[in-house]
Symmetry: C2
Subunit: 427 residues, 2 copies
């Protein structure tokens, strides 16, 4: 067994033994390390304001207005341009964020703990469809919803979770959702319904007990949750981040621990290659567009939600979610094939996440950059599609391929990093 294979086996063990549990909801500024006044987290690898795409700029403007750091759009843009805001990747703060991924200190975040390794991960709460910050919209409707999430939804969820001392087992929830037609990235209908079901008693109980005013808001909270079939996405993402982080930083390990896009660049991180990002230009997804929109309107791929594929869900688990093709295009056979293809890129299967139609075979897990380069097959990614201009929002959903250059660069770096006498690159 080569040095790389040994390292990969250890990384795979950590991924499979991960046990993500939802333990709370709290304002990001209170729990996310280093998210202080003047810091804005975003999706993907590092990027400066001048290189940001429309939807990320839109979300940044919205985040600044939401925090009250500026009063008008023009002021917000000036502040963003001034260099007084520190833009940092969610991934640098144990966090992930879908699409633009913009996370500011006042926003409530899911707090997920990996019980096996003790690490925590964070993700903001899903706003639903339509005009939403994560797709780059920042109008009054968007800001009002964010304020409601901060003032009502976040505290309601926080109170409910305080009354569940063991937390909510996300490994179990995801496993169940995969038996119910979810793949955990672009289809979270089952996970969202299971999440509501799991939290409803605690929401009702905590709304009644000693939190004045919250009782009246309970129906609003249920309205919001019941209308949002993607509500569980952000929680699944946090679970995946909590799962992958302990597998990072193993010398000589060739497994991908993060894939993320900032709307301009697609970047990956590899376990054995430290904090370095390997980036290349982000591609435009192909998929199904909402009425009135077309491919020319689309922004290049954006978001940290590819943490799901990195952990063996999303495009890697599409065989579990044949109904997703109504949303992303293709046929149920394509969905099945997508998963089968991914076994060629991965070093293991996750027995906790069985796919019923494949006789409960575990999802393909642990992307090996060597296998990507050797086979020429790219990781399969499901994604939402954002309008390329700030302020518009989601215009479709589909599939996208990461750029091969990221994997090639990383493989060269890995070869440089390890003992030249080992058979480490395996090629």
């Amino acid at each position: 067994m080569s040095q790389v294979d040994t390292a990969n086996a250890e990384a795979l063990r950590r991924i499979l033994e991960a046990h993500p549990v939802l333990v709370g909801v709290a304002p990001a500024g209170r729990v996310v390390p280093g998210l202080t006044e003047g810091v804005i987290l975003h999706a993907g690898p590092p990027i400066t304001w001048d290189r940001m795409s429309g939807p990320l700029r839109g979300a940044v403007i919205g985040g600044i207005l939401f925090e009250g750091w500026a009063r008008t759009e023009a002021e917000a843009v000036a502040l963003a341009e001034s260099g007084q805001i520190r833009f940092e990747p969610c991934h640098h703060h144990q966090a992930v964020g879908p699409m633009a991924g913009v996370t500011t200190p006042s926003m409530p975040v899911w707090v997920v703990e990996n019980r096996t390794f003790g690490n925590q991960a964070f993700c903001n709460l899903n706003e639903g469809l339509g005009k939403v910050l994560r797709y780059g919209a920042y109008g009054e409707e968007v800001l009002q919803r964010l304020a409601w999430m901060r003032d009502v939804l976040g505290p309601a969820l926080a109170a409910a979770l305080e009354s569940l001392p063991g937390g909510l087992d996300l490994k179990m929830l995801i496993a169940q959702a995969l038996h119910m037609g979810d793949e955990g990235h672009n289809r979270n209908k089952a996970g969202s319904a299971l999440l509501l079901r799991a939290l409803a008693p605690a929401l009702a109980r905590s709304a009644g007990a000693g939190r004045p005013g919250l009782g009246d808001r309970l129906a609003e909270v249920f309205d919001f949750l019941a209308a949002n079939e993607m509500f569980a996405l952000n929680l699944v993402m946090a679970a995946c981040k909590a799962t992958m982080d302990p597998a990072h930083g193993i010398p000589a390990c060739s497994l991908v621990t993060a894939m993320a896009r900032n709307g301009t660049d697609f970047g990956i991180r590899v376990s054995g290659l430290g904090d370095r990002w390997f980036t290349a230009p982000s591609r435009v997804p192909r998929g199904l567009y909402f009425p009135g929109f077309k491919a020319e309107d689309a922004n290049p791929d954006i978001g940290d939600s590819t943490i799901t594929e990195t952990a063996g869900l999303g495009g890697f688990a599409m065989a579990a979610a044949p109904a997703i093709v109504q949303f992303v295009g293709g046929s149920p056979r394509d969905a099945l094939q997508a998963t089968l293809d991914m076994y060629a890129l991965t070093v293991g299967e996750n027995p906790a996440f069985g796919i019923p139609v494949l006789d409960f075979r575990g999802t393909p897990t642990g992307i090996d950059i060597r296998k990507v380069v050797e086979t020429g097959l790219l990781p399969r990614v499901n994604t939402g599609i954002a309008h390329k201009e700030a302020g518009v929002g989601q215009i479709g959903a589909g599939l996208v391929e990461p750029p091969m250059e990221c994997f090639e660069q990383a493989l060269l770096a890995l070869a440089d990093s390890i003992d030249p006498e080992s058979q480490a690159t395996g090629s």
Copy 2:
């Protein structure tokens, strides 16, 4: 086209155009026609006390005690034996009931309306697993739960539904559940979660408004709903009954409009053959048993839940529910094959109920007794398994075949009933 084919086309049209909507919850005695003091409804074709199996007797005893018509088990048995109780099939009262199907006037029932044809159907509420009346248990725990359902759950659901003036679209709910791994009979995990999701806002809203005491009970209601993955079964059954009733009573029609078992006899009704039941001895299901139980403990097949297969769900939709094999046995491939086999017995496909892995092909719908007899294939039925003795409860789940004799007798009767010069039997 023969007289029979013409009649079947009309029946199929009515089945496919059915639009079941949940419109309320009410005490059975207030809404189910003819369910008055001293009447007990049961599953399956008509049966007298002396021929009832253990679980049906147990449920009858429980029903009598629950209504307060007797104070002890011995008194209840004496009353049941006395001839003073009228035992009638649920199916004779626009109703269905899972397993024993015992329904008494005080029990809350789902009220489902077929918006296309104006007819209503009813089904009691699911008690959950363990010691429950429908499996023939009637101890204190069972009666207390029934009282809570009458006093808390029923009124809470009734109030919630009063605040949803359009009702809840069950055709849509079932269609979604089939995309989420349910088959609507033995697997209702998605349907139950979707139902909770749909009702949660209205439950919260109505609990807060002018119903003293109900607010405190809201968390109890959510606890109950969140713990019961079969809660939607009874509602799906009522939707299927509401769907099938308008297809009944078409002269010369050879489609099955009800399959039902009372624990002793399996009976079917055929659209063109009026109110007559064609019966034969009920068989013992084969399946997976809970720890400590075996096939010798099993009661013959029991319950009206076969209304789901009659309407193209349950065993007919197993391809949608590969994960069900963990509950009823077999492999995902068997589940797929079960659905494919049923297309040979049916006259149509329901486009509203698409099965993702079959490229969204509609579920096989409209069992033709001619095809059953000609092919020798029997309808595929998923079922729970009750202990044969009164008072024990569920001991497993599995598959069962209806007796071929029911279909053979019905086919002979149909041949007798129609114009001898037509080609009606089609054989």
